[in-house]
Subunit: 256 residues, 2 copies
Amino acid sequence: MSVTSRTPRSSDRPRRSSGGDGDRARRASARPADDRAPLVPEPGVPVAGASLTRQERKARTRQALLDATLERLEDQAFGAISLREVARSAGITPTAFYRHFESMEDLGLVLVDESFRALREMLRVRRAAATEPGDEIRAAVATLVEHVHGQRAHFRFIARERSGGTAPLRSAIRQEIRLFSSQLATDLARYPVLRERATADLQMIADLIVAAAVSAVEQLLDVPPGRPDLEDEIRGVAEDQLRLIVLGALQWRSAS
Amino acid sequence: MSVTSRTPRSSDRPRRSSGGDGDRARRASARPADDRAPLVPEPGVPVAGASLTRQERKARTRQALLDATLERLEDQAFGAISLREVARSAGITPTAFYRHFESMEDLGLVLVDESFRALREMLRVRRAAATEPGDEIRAAVATLVEHVHGQRAHFRFIARERSGGTAPLRSAIRQEIRLFSSQLATDLARYPVLRERATADLQMIADLIVAAAVSAVEQLLDVPPGRPDLEDEIRGVAEDQLRLIVLGALQWRSAS
DNA sequence: GTGTTCGGTGAACAACTGTGCACAAGCTAG
DNA sequence: CTAGCTTGTGCACAGTTGTTCACCGAACAC
């Protein structure tokens, strides 16, 4: 009895129980669980020509696991990706997974870290680049769009798990974003026109900017590849929203 | 899962780690998957005194399935909830599930509809209530907070699946929010001070307001029960953000 | 050169998954 | 009153899951 004979065309939907206790199960595929299908340049198998050091090899398969997860993340939510699936995509057996991570949740937290390292890098580049004052908003949005392009998988991971994922992941991401936002608030304090604002007000403004940025990123991630027109539309709206916020901030008087 | 030391050689026979995040002891402890544990007032079994019409009974178990899903959604992502699990919580067999929905995805779309019906209701109430002009922002935020309280499960579902879920659900939710946002834009046009703004600008402003609102709702959903202080903090910031946006909107001149 | 460490394998386990099929019982229409 | 549709059950099946165990071979430390 093959799988294709099923009448309801619901197709194969990612599924998994888990939650508090650890247990999961997944949809049916054609062949009976092959396990390990090397899509990545031979992480587990002895590499042809090279005799790498053990550290290098370990780091390599570890990264292969992370990358495989990010790749799988294109279709499914992180919480719906199985350990076996990741191991399979990375080209190792499920047992070997445990040599690198304690659990999928552990891997997820590492992924959060890796993703935000990219985001911090973005901020660093932004700060370093000297932009003429009048064009700061345009430059900021451009950097954002550019980095979403470059780190698409990581941004997608963050965007999805920020509110969709399990509690530990969610709170880890929220905290990173909060950190990001408060850094932005201190950056805002450097502008002469905003200098006399109360720090709580600056934080409120920074939160609003971040909310707009998050919204823009989410929209960018939904843009199908090869539609630069939609992307420009989003970019333009985001710029206008930031300008409007700045306009409001300049008028703002704390009513405390 | 895996709270404390996971030491690979630890031979805890029953592999239910049961620690994880705040997970209360689940009833599926000992016996192997009982299926069907009536938590809901007897949907499947012949009800004692009442002889309901077939339609009523069907609608009742259908609602039980939807409610069970919402309940399960507190801990897990929608994509991680299994059909069997829902059926179990609703007190019917997995096969009976198919009498009501084609698949979990089907149920999810119904849930989207149900959730947004509540949101629309909120808007309707808001429009009907005559508020004195000066207090409109405060009143709007108050209504939002109130409805998040009342429809917590639905809001959580939307917030999570908005960016976390599978593609069909995600796009369904996004479209509803877009609709909501454009309605807000036309509402904005009714204010005399904003009347001469271009519709694209009004839409941009409405999108910003929605982004701020979404952010506020997400924060509200993360507030642990019994912490009204945090809730007031969020409410206050949201009000200020809206006021700032209004301030900016009044200054706004389209640069087209 | 030799023993150890360690990243890997493969089989096994019990639990769980979605879904098909045959059947039962009651509301409902005739 | 009777026939049938409808909503449920029970069983089965094949496939997948996380995790453990014993083991292996090559890089490593000495």
